[in-house]
Symmetry: C2
Subunit: 429 residues, 2 copies
């Protein structure tokens, strides 16, 4: 006998119970996204390497699954879905009336050290809102992310909202060119304080700008409080204050959506280079180190991908982590989806009859026929072990009366049921 094969490291097999939970969460996300007017799109699992590396953060580049096809094309398994979806937009939807509102639920791939909540193949679910240049659009995506989690019944989540425009403008005023801003934003995103200070030194950012930036990054708390402190700190810096005002208009629009309870966190920078204005992250603190379940904001990516500039904002849920967070709270995710009845012939020559009865029962209840041709007692044991609530026994005597015997596996109660009444049989759960 050869050694049994195993799945590749960092990947997962999903069994029926878990798949049912995943499909349930997918279904709720779809419904909420569609209720806001978003339509689902799907892109290929791999893209040209060039697209994937066009403007992704350094971090992603190091963790790509990259390969050549038989025509020597450089391809990569997608590490995230925003770049592919924006490519789709440029290729297929750029002439559509605006806004273009799309969503996706799909798998992504990163070659990283597997750990709790981090896999080499993982799922993202997100939206992109393309076209409107207004603050209300940025507010809508935040509101949509929160509405989705609320509909899923997640209770323990924290929304942190910041604004990259404020940070970039402080750097710009400090004489840092756009291309030099990206490593700074990266160091902020990673919380690498020493690296950040080193970079600011190297870029010869004036002491005053440096101090403003480092202080701003620490501001975190309820909206009114943080904005007050930020306004005081930025007094006289007209350019930065304009960005802050833009941010305040986004927060004001969040109120229209009924959103509250978030925290303003000016230290949020996001890992990817293409973010521009409002950015936000959602955490499920129960998940510990891998607590971030959502990230998003407004960004500018189409130019890098060869398209015309267009205002865009969106977010992505870490689908697997949302599921972990819901499970950690003990949420019930959809009902049990297994078969509800097992149809058992009480004799080998009755299997044909059993199959016929199952076919009509199936119109109302998922059911299976005992294809193993077991003795009745063994079949009952199988139903029990699978948690199948009803066993329908097909016997000569009952059939002669046009009946079958229905056994409730929980109570053990048995009763005759007319074959034609099987369609209306109920399961008590």
């Amino acid at each position: 006998m050869t050694m049994a094969f195993t799945r590749p490291r960092g990947t997962r097999d999903f069994l029926p119970e878990e798949m049912a939970r995943r499909r349930y969460v997918e279904g709720v996300m779809r419904e909420v996204f569609e209720s806001f007017g978003y339509g689902e799109v799907q892109t290929p699992t791999f893209e040209s390497l060039e697209l994937i590396t066009a403007k992704s953060g350094e971090d992603i580049r190091r963790h790509l699954y990259h390969f050549k096809d038989k025509a020597e094309r450089d391809l990569a398994l997608r590490p995230e879905l925003t770049a592919p979806v924006m490519r789709l937009y440029i290729n297929e939807l750029k002439r559509s009336p605006k806004p273009v509102k799309v969503y996706y639920i799909g798998n992504c791939f990163r070659y990283e050290e597997p750990q709790s909540g981090r896999y080499r193949e993982f799922w993202q679910a997100g939206v992109e809102l393309i076209g409107p240049p207004h603050e209300e659009a940025e507010a809508e995506v935040v509101a949509l992310a929160m509405a989705t989690l609320e509909r899923l019944g997640l209770e323990g989540f924290e929304v942190h909202i910041g604004h990259i425009g404020v940070l970039r403008r402080i750097l710009e005023d400090g004489g840092v060119r756009e291309e030099d801003q990206n490593p700074v934003m990266n160091a902020i995103d990673k919380g690498e304080e020493a690296a950040l200070k080193g970079l600011l030194e190297k870029l010869q950012v004036p002491e005053e700008s440096r101090s403003v930036l480092l202080t701003i990054l620490e501001l975190e708390g309820p909206s009114r409080e943080v904005l007050g402190k930020a306004r005081a700190l930025l007094a006289g810096r007209t350019g930065v204050l304009e960005e802050l005002e833009r941010f305040e208009r986004v927060l004001c629009a969040l109120g229209f959506f009924g959103v509250e309870g978030y925290r303003v966190d000016l230290g949020i920078a996001r890992g990817l280079d293409y973010y521009t204005g409002t950015v936000f992250e959602i955490y499920a603190p129960r998940l510990g180190a891998q607590k971030q379940i959502c990230g998003g904001g407004s960004y500018s990516l189409t130019e890098t991908l060869g398209g015309a500039p267009v205002p865009t904002c969106g977010f992505a849920f870490g689908f697997d982590r949302v599921l972990l967070a819901l499970e950690a709270e003990g949420r019930k995710l959809g009902g049990d989806k297994g078969p509800k009845a097992l149809v058992v012939p009480a004799g080998k020559d009755l299997l044909g009859e059993a199959i016929r009865v199952a076919a009509s029962l199936r119109k109302s209840l998922p059911c299976e026929v005992d294809l193993m041709k077991r003795k009745l007692v063994k079949a009952l044991g199988y139903a029990d072990s699978r948690g199948i609530p009803l066993v329908v026994i097909i016997g000569e005597e009952e059939l002669a009366k046009g009946c079958v015997l229905v056994r409730d596996m929980k109570t053990g109660a048995q009763r005759d049921v007319k074959v034609e009444d099987l369609g209306s049989i109920k399961v008590h759960e």
Copy 2:
């Protein structure tokens, strides 16, 4: 401006309308599979190269996307799902009570020349029934495949059922060892008559066996007729007749499932080496050269993958082709899933009100707010171009009466509706 990126050759982008159709077909398949007691599983997108090449046909091996990860593991994008699902069975489910009934809907990858109905990334949906050694199990998977197509409303499909056991036994009686049978089965599957005759010559198959095999392969037609001819042809060949009888019992069991109208086709061999008994293919003749939409049968794969032997049967739909076949018949696949209402503020300072109204409308109808801040006439044009049936206009005057103005885009009729009554608004489609 850089050149716009395009998707890799042979892959597809799916836009919302097509995705809605795909999700609808997926949903119907899930429902039918589950009604027979099958549960969904999911395996990783890539597997170890060894698993994929363990017993796949020559053909698949040549068309693999194969790559190394950063730890030099040889991996391949899955070209089909039976081997991965059987690996999952061995790793995770082999100790579960039998039968194990699983299904999958997932993407697969083959590096082939793209053509109508053939893509490099394509979808398969299928089931595996693991455990029962009886003919009724083989019959169930055929019946399930047909029930699925019927539920989808496909009318023009043809089911061809054959039996590999019969063919292999003729070869065995002709002195052909198991490992030499596979190339023969491959030539049969491809319909390569010259290659087949050459192989039989090379393997020194006696003239009589050769002639029986070539005649059997041509037998195709209604069950009773073909079986009669086969029985006459095989008179005296006890071993082969035993296989034929086994096949007849499968066909008899098909009757229990109410299945009829299929054709018996002893020329079916299937491309993969692991098939053993009943095999079947379903064609949608409207699709021309790529008309096969389903293939399956009973097979033996676990030993090759390092597990204990276990009787198995299953099938896989070519998901994309099922969709093409349904579209070719003009089937309506699910309803229109776009937003049903556009909420438009009749003045810039009313956008906040519009967002609030949309939030309550959304509880019953998918809707979007005009985030572009367009003038009313332009917003109506947008609703028209997107096929949004209702426009809800938020005006000062109406709001003062606790109302909004609802415009039916088809008739142009407008009426005042109380904000609190918006939840019960209907769309006439």
